[in-house]
């Protein structure tokens, strides 16, 4: 009952203010140079590990967005996304897992011009990004001094996304998309301590992050004259 009520409220809200509601899932590739260096140093400095710790590289992304109603070809909206990356190395007596979570809250500038590029759209997304990096050892959260080893981070991200609408049903569209993002300065002061268990030996307190994504988006779109 609660789910039905939520669904009704959602569609009412969507038809009042939103031009478009989206939800998507995608593969995400990440390149964070300082985190790479910390993991590379971890591997370099621990020859006793037969299996090396993989770099944080491949992950999943899920997001939802609202594009607000506008008659212009340039619209704006809001965007929230969650990303998850994992690096796991299983050695005898030492299974080490790094779990990296990101939460992005962004503002979208959406462009589509049906007359010139029918079905094609592009988004510019400016986001605030927060992250949590955690370490598990032998399937338990790694703790010392009765507290979990953790590193939180914060930064700003600029992404460009392009996709193509494929109509499935009235108001329902599917679009494959690609996205390229860059976070020039991501502040995460404790990440080296979680990854390599040192401070100031490997990297500074920040890293640049480059991301790419490829995925599919489900759109519920109001037509211009709805």
């Amino acid at each position: 009952m609660r789910a039905v009520l939520f669904g009704m409220l959602f569609f009412t809200f969507n038809s009042i203010i939103a031009q478009e509601f989206r939800t998507d899932i995608s593969y995400k590739y990440i390149f964070a140079n300082k985190w790479d260096k910390a993991i590379q140093t971890y591997n370099f400095s621990r020859p006793f590990l037969e299996k090396k710790q993989p770099l944080l590289m491949h992950g999943l992304n899920a997001s939802v967005s609202y594009i607000f109603k506008s008659s212009s070809s340039l619209k704006h909206g809001i965007h929230i996304s969650y990303n998850y990356f994992k690096s796991s190395a299983e050695n005898e007596n030492l299974k080490n897992i790094l779990n990296l979570h990101f939460l992005n809250l962004g503002y979208i500038i959406h462009y589509e011009n049906n007359e010139k590029t029918k079905g094609l759209y592009t988004d510019l997304i400016i986001s605030a990004v927060s992250s949590g990096l955690f370490r598990n050892v032998n399937d338990e959260p790694f703790e010392y001094d009765e507290a979990r080893a953790k590193a939180f981070g914060i930064g700003g991200d600029l992404s460009i996304r392009a996709g193509y609408y494929l109509k499935l049903k009235n108001k329902i569209y599917l679009s494959p998309f690609v996205l390229v993002g860059y976070t020039p300065y991501f502040y995460s002061p404790n990440s080296e301590a979680v990854i390599n268990q040192t401070k100031g030996l490997v990297s500074n307190n920040w890293t640049g992050i480059f991301t790419t994504q490829v995925g599919l988006t489900l759109h519920i779109r109001q037509h211009q004259n709805d």
Binding site: F44, F48, M57, E92, L94, L120, F142, Y144, D145, A193
Partner: protein, 446 residues
């Protein structure tokens, strides 16, 4: 182009445009530093302590030729093991693992080494009696805006009077220093960088066993013991090292891991002489006298920790964390107290003086139940000359300057060369060992 073709091509182009750079980037991103390094030069490591052994272990893992020159008859540096004194093995040097969040924490987990949290209870010798707690808070040496003055002076400023003298001596002694020499500001900065954890752990066997089994065993065949380095000539492209027997050894790079007093007292002659800023930096890094005395008794009359004695500010039950429980009390003596006991001139005099103090604390029970003692005085070891390094008043960034490599030939490691708060520790020494191998390989790449 019809719509279907356009969709197909644009999708393929988009995915291709994304995946090709990603795949390329992935291929460039190596899992470890210097994955493809190929260096045919020779590295000589001076000192077979934790830093030297670990540097050797890393060099071996990268297939680089190396040799370790060790002045004493044993490897391990300030780690040591005594068997036969009690029914458990005794650490004559470094004993506690300070926090699990370190490279050694990983090595301990990987090797399934048994360690136990040391949560033993403490009593204080205060106003000539043993008490469970102190009237005033002594936790005053951490915080913001602390002055660059000694622990002793700061304690007096904060109202910890003469009755707290040896309590403060113990707090400074934990850092290997006399309370009159350890900087409140400097040590607080070190504490702010500290991130391996505050819990202390003891080894079921010994710390030496961990380093011996997991590290030294892999490089033992490359250690030349009883090789006292007297001269390092780095004036030519090949570095020439001379020992006290006039044997010479050639190397392309040298990692110097000797304790800081050896560098301060110029026991090794450098040609050309080291830059002034380097020798000044060495002189600013503190290292005081330090000794461990193990006292064996026929019964356990003592508490697990006794803090604040005027002869020895820190006694600890050495059987804590061990599989057996012979009655062995460790007298952990640093700074001025170690200087005083060293000045007595003999192990017997040191033992007698400590027993007298314990007799005062425990109504004569020490002497009556005394069985044997073992004195490990690191101060009189000519290749160590003290306990471990500490931050002196006005030290500034001396550690960073001391650590800088010279002419891409000389590299400095060891606990005193740890610049991120982990000096004084074995894991800190290990960190410097691999750090200097990274520095060497970076220089080679350039």
């Amino acid at each position: 182009m019809d719509r279907r073709h356009f969709i197909k091509q644009s999708t393929l182009l988009s995915i291709g445009g994304l995946l090709i750079p990603s795949t390329f980037l992935s291929a460039c991103r190596k899992e470890t530093l210097f994955e493809d390094i190929n260096y045919d030069g020779k590295v000589i490591i001076i000192g077979a302590g934790a830093a030297g052994l670990y540097a050797a272990y890393i060099l071996k893992s990268k297939g680089i030729d190396f040799q370790i020159l060790e002045a004493s008859a044993n490897y391990g540096g300030r780690l040591g093991k005594l068997t036969g004194f009690a029914n458990f093995p005794i650490d004559t040097g470094a004993q506690w693992l300070h926090g699990k969040n370190s490279i050694l924490g990983d090595l301990i987990t990987k090797s399934n080494t048994k360690i136990t949290l040391d949560d033993s209870e403490t009593k204080y010798w205060f106003n000539n009696q043993l008490v469970n707690s102190l009237p005033q808070n002594t936790d005053i040496f951490e915080g913001d805006d602390l002055p660059d003055i000694s622990y002793n002076d700061y304690a007096l400023q904060k109202g910890l009077g003469n009755e707290y003298k040896y309590i403060v001596e113990n707090i400074a002694g934990d850092q290997g220093a006399a309370a009159t020499r350890l900087s409140v500001f400097g040590n607080n900065q070190d504490e702010e960088n500290w991130n391996s954890g505050d819990n202390d752990f003891k080894f079921r066997e010994t710390f030496f066993d961990l380093i011996d089994k997991e590290i030294a065993s892999r490089v033992k065949d490359k250690i030349l013991l009883n090789t006292i380095v007297s001269k390092i000539d780095y004036s030519q492209s090949t570095i020439q090292i001379t020992d006290s027997n006039n044997n010479t050894y050639n190397a392309d790079k040298v990692i110097i891991t000797v304790p800081i007093p050896i560098l301060k007292s110029a026991d090794i002659q450098f040609i050309p002489t080291l830059p002034n800023e380097k020798t000044t930096a060495f002189s600013k890094i503190g290292m005081d006298a330090g000794m461990k005395v193990f006292l064996k008794f026929s019964n356990k009359f003592f508490d697990q920790n006794i803090i604040g004695g005027p002869i020895c500010a820190a006694y600890a039950d050495d059987s804590v964390g061990k599989a057996q429980n012979d009655n062995v009390l460790l007298a952990f003596i640093m700074g001025v107290q170690a200087e005083y006991l060293t000045s007595l001139g003999s192990d017997t005099a040191i033992t007698t003086t400590l027993l007298q103090e314990l007799d005062t604390m425990y109504n004569g029970q020490a002497t009556s139940s005394f069985v044997a003692s073992h004195v490990q005085n690191w101060t009189i070891n000519p290749f160590v000359k003290g306990a471990y390094s500490y931050s002196t008043i006005g030290m500034g960034d001396a550690r960073k300057v001391a650590t800088k490599p010279i002419n891409k030939k000389l590299y400095f490691a060891g606990e005193a060369m740890n610049t991120n708060g982990h000096h004084q520790t074995v894991h800190g020494a290990v960190e410097t060992g691999y750090r200097e191998v990274i520095n060497i390989l970076n220089d080679i790449k350039k």
